[in-house]
Subunit: 217 residues, 2 copies
DNA sequence: TGCTGAATCAAACGTACGTTTAAAAAATAC
DNA sequence: GTATTTTTTAAACGTACGTTTGATTCAGCA
């Protein structure tokens, strides 16, 4: 195989295995075999198993978050001094995921599944991941949601954003299985369509009437 | 230690380890040590590692699904010949999870996390789990949602139910981490409150206006 | 052509894995 | 109180793990 492509092939195989088996379930022996390289390649190029998966996440997540911030900024410009439209906020949060999943025009379902995995990873891995990549973006979206929200207390905004993120992550983790029976098989590759539906769902959920927190039943 | 309690202690330890490390990441050596029994106990009482985790899921999920079906039936009775109120459908789907998590009056957050893990487990495990425990319940709720839905095409109903389930599973997987910064620490143990908020969120999302599927932007 | 640094390789490091075995111990039945 | 079954135990089964090592290969350049 051509030299210089080893790192890329390792990252590609890592995405596959990580999506299917998670961090602890991924074997470096299987991974390097699938990548067509030697077992020692991972430690040579990345330092360790954990560093490889971390680098994979960095490469994937950072462009998404950059894209998110740009879309949010564009929506801010569009809105002027008024609050941003809720639809634009969640479009800025969801759609970059679909854009990142695109590879040669076709969606990379493995990447979606990997993204959905992060949430249930063991605490050590998760904590490092989240503090490394997400604090700035999350705070930016939360403060914009608070400006947009129709009189919701901040803690309620956080709850609803939490549900929105949960729905996204759950949908990503599940998407690769949607073809089997649940929905039309044709739509499996229409990640954009899924994310648009999800945005509409989440926006409506976010606008749910607020009962003041002490409602019964 | 008292005899006869070994199985129970194994199941309890299994829940802990499975929630934290997943199926492939759980070590039978650590698990049996935590349960205060011998390494061979798992294979003696359950047959294999996989069978132990399967049995754990069965014990936890079956009562939830029974509870779900009973609540759905009660809502059906209440509604008479009219469609069931959307809030009652999702209450029947969400609340039994919180009830199952209750142990001696306090919520068992580990169980929630375990439940949230199932969705991103490897395909072999997931497939077996889902086909074993969920087909009947899912179809029952879907058909009831179709009766209740305001003119939504069935495929759209499935999409929105999928998002609702995703939000639930994501929220369960994340809940144990909510105390740190995102929301009020006091609410961490208020699983019921979380599920009620989630139900309201999901019901509103389910009622999102339907654009006919071909809408732009 | 010979040198240099990066990249790859097979092999071995020590450790941990899930499972099996056969003997010891405890509980139950007669 | 002995016989029988159920449960627990320590030890070993073979396999796989992530990482390290030192030799080998290969490109680029003098």
């Amino acid at each position: 195989m051509e030299p210089g492509q080893t790192k890329e092939r390792l990252l590609q195989a890592a995405e596959q295995f990580y999506a299917e088996h998670g961090f602890e379930g991924t074997s470096m022996r299987e991974l390097t075999a699938a990548a067509g390289t030697n077992l020692a390649a991972v430690n040579y190029h990345f330092g360790s198993k954990k560093a490889l998966l971390m680098e994979l996440c960095r490469i994937r997540i950072e462009p998404i978050n950059q894209d998110r911030m740009e879309m949010l900024e564009a929506a801010r410009q569009k809105a002027g001094s008024a609050p941003i439209l809720l639809e634009d906020i969640f479009a800025a949060f969801f759609f970059p995921v679909g854009r990142q999943a695109l590879q040669d025009g076709k969606p990379n379902l493995t990447f979606l599944r990997m993204a959905g995995r992060l949430i249930s990873e063991n605490d050590e891995f998760y904590e490092e991941m989240v503090t490394a990549f997400f604090p700035v973006v999350v705070e930016a979206f939360l403060s914009e949601l608070e400006r947009t929200a129709p009189g919701l207390p901040p803690v309620e905004v956080r709850w609803r954003f939490h549900f929105a993120v949960s729905a996204l992550v759950g949908a990503l983790a599940q998407h690769h299985r949607m073809g089997s029976s649940k929905c039309s098989e044709l739509e499996l590759n229409d990640v954009e369509g899924m994310l648009r539906r999800l945005r509409d769902f989440v926006c409506a959920g976010f606008r749910a009437p607020y009962e003041g927190g002490e409602a019964g039943q």
